[in-house]
């Protein structure tokens, strides 16, 4: 079984995004970029399935600017076998929307014929939480989103999902799309020898045009602003003072 894992290059999760003063977006110049944390989890899961013998090849794909090759190299160093970079933007500030990403991924799936796609649940930059579901729709496949546990049987996957009420377990027929939630696994760090080895693994470069996908956005970003700030509060010296402040504020 081949597994395809889409990985996105995003602002590092430790960095606080800064809005440009002119409202034109978030400043990404000279900002540390990393693999989307959910995608690290997705890559880890795919590699574990391969290590268990449930999969024989893990292919990673990233869509965006050329620098996304670094992200793909990271995935290769973790243990993925092969990578595909789809260049679809020139400027780091250009985000490709989930619908366009899903269309490109559909074309990649048509060419690669994986039986399972494991995506992240959400990209931590645009917070869309949409690509996996959209890809499933375009392919006419079943989907198991927000996965915290995944087991592969012959022709199906048993997936435990994190939902508002707790946990739900479903069975989805393969081929299918799974999206990874935080507690699916703890991703490994790539070792130095594996980082060296990853440099020699195949990384194929394509463009959005190769797949005939129009990536022009459906949602025009009119402006980007900072959220309303909170005015600085006070420190209280004791539980009694806290209780009286909360009574004054009318919240207890």
């Amino acid at each position: 079984m081949k597994i395809l894992v889409p990985v996105k290059r995003v602002i590092d999760y430790n960095v606080k995004a800064r809005v440009r003063a002119d409202g034109s977006g978030v400043d990404l110049a000279n900002v540390k970029m990393s693999m989307n944390p959910f995608d690290e989890i997705a890559v880890e899961e795919a590699i574990r399935l391969k290590e268990k013998g449930a999969a024989d090849e893990v292919v990673v794909v990233s869509i965006g600017v050329k620098q996304a090759q670094e992200t793909l190299r990271t995935a290769l160093a973790m243990g993925a076998d092969r990578a595909i970079l789809v260049v679809a933007a020139e400027d780091v500030g250009t985000d490709i929307e989930p619908l366009a990403v899903a269309k490109i991924l559909k074309a990649v799936v048509d060419a690669e014929a994986p039986r399972l796609v494991i995506a992240g649940k959400q990209a931590i930059d645009n917070d869309m939480n949409a690509t996996g579901q959209m890809l499933a729709a375009l392919l006419g496949w079943g989907q198991a989103t927000f996965a915290s546990k995944l087991e592969i049987a012959d022709d199906s996957a048993k997936v435990t999902r994190e939902v508002d009420g707790g946990l739900q377990t479903i069975k989805v027929r393969l081929p299918a799309i799974v999206t990874a939630d935080l507690r699916l696994n703890e991703p490994r760090y790539a070792s130095l020898p594996n980082i060296m080895k990853a440099k020699k693994k195949p990384l194929e470069e394509k463009t959005a045009a190769d797949y005939g996908v129009d990536v022009s956005p459906r949602l025009e970003v009119v402006s980007t602003r900072e959220p309303e700030g909170r005015s600085a509060g006070i420190k209280v010296g004791s539980v009694d003072e806290l209780v009286s402040k909360l009574k004054e504020a009318g919240v207890i």
Partner: protein, 308 residues
């Protein structure tokens, strides 16, 4: 101009709070038809009909809709979409599972977690864990949106909308339900509670997390948790507050032993009054807290529980 809104129905019961908030959010966009889908959805539909501002309710009752599996529900919404300009839902995990699939079936973008409706095509939504607010204008003919419930007041009661039958769509039969693990609780529901008490990694164990629950029960509050507390098994996953957990905006939010990572703040910084209890006076949570108390939670929390 009309809106089709997916009501939040779980095991036959309408989540009135989430649905009524979504109804209020889209009220200005046109007549709102609420769709209640489920293996049992008739009672939920009758309840949805009483939400102020609902023009019509549609029931889709069939076993296939029983567990809110994405494929049949998305197929149903896509089939019904024809006459509506907006297809909306509260941004619950169920809707976040379904709505992007609906959007792709209609070849439009989804607009997730809308926090403000500006006009029929223009919406505000938080991005980058709430560190930026984007205004987006849709170029699509149909707009598929989910609404961040914490940003809207719930529509009132007293409506009396007519209830009709939806034309059912075929079940693609791609997935099936196996089981649910749901903890029943008498506490208020996290996303609609007026007060929330949350605990972090500092609680140290599931047993000690009971300190948070005792304070919450004294305050009539819901219980929340940081990711670290959930990852460590001190609290169940559905208590997680944050960028990828639940978004809450209660009148009172008490953060105990939580450092205040941006991903946690993303889920609670719109609360009216924030209290932080942390032994590290430099903890970032204090930068957004209205009232900060520096101290050891293991002495402070029991004292507080005794005094409120």
């Amino acid at each position: 101009m009309a809106v089709l809104l997916l009501g939040e129905v779980t095991s036959g019961v309408l989540n009135r709070d989430a649905t009524a908030k979504a109804v209020a959010a889209v009220g200005a966009l046109g007549d709102v038809t609420v769709l209640c889908a489920g293996a049992h959805a008739r009672e939920a539909a009758a309840e949805a009909a009483t939400i102020q501002g609902v023009a019509k309710v549609l029931v889709a009752e069939a076993p296939a809709y029983g567990h809110r599996l994405a494929e049949p529900t998305a197929a149903l919404l896509a089939a019904l979409a024809g006459e509506y300009e907006h297809i909306a839902a509260p941004a619950t995990t169920d809707a976040k599972n379904v709505m992007p699939r609906v959007a792709a079936l209609l070849d439009v973008m989804v607009i997730p977690e809308v926090s403000k409706v500006i006009d029929a095509a223009t919406f505000e939504r938080p991005v980058y864990a709430g560190n930026a607010i984007q205004t987006v204008r849709s170029r699509d003919g149909k707009k598929v949106i989910t609404l961040r419930t914490a940003s809207f007041e719930a529509a009132g009661t007293g409506g009396a909308a007519p209830v009709g039958e939806a034309t059912l769509a075929d079940d693609p039969g791609l997935s099936s339900w196996l089981s649910d693990e749901v903890a029943a609780s008498d506490r208020p529901e996290l996303t609609s509670a007026k007060r929330v008490v949350s605990g972090g990694r500092a609680l140290g164990s599931k047993e000690q997390f009971a300190l948070i629950e005792a304070l919450a029960d004294k305050l009539g509050a819901a219980v929340g948790a940081s990711r670290a507390a959930v990852d460590s098994g001190y609290a169940p996953n559905d208590w997680q507050v944050g960028q990828t957990g639940k978004v809450v905006a209660p009148e009172l939010y008490v953060a105990v032993g939580i450092s205040g990572a941006i991903q946690h703040l993303a889920g609670m910084k719109d609360s009216k009054v924030i209290v932080a209890i942390n032994k590290d006076e430099e903890a970032p949570i204090f930068q957004i807290a209205d009232y900060g108390l520096v101290g050891d939670l293991f002495t402070v929390v029991p004292e507080l529980t005794g005094k409120v």
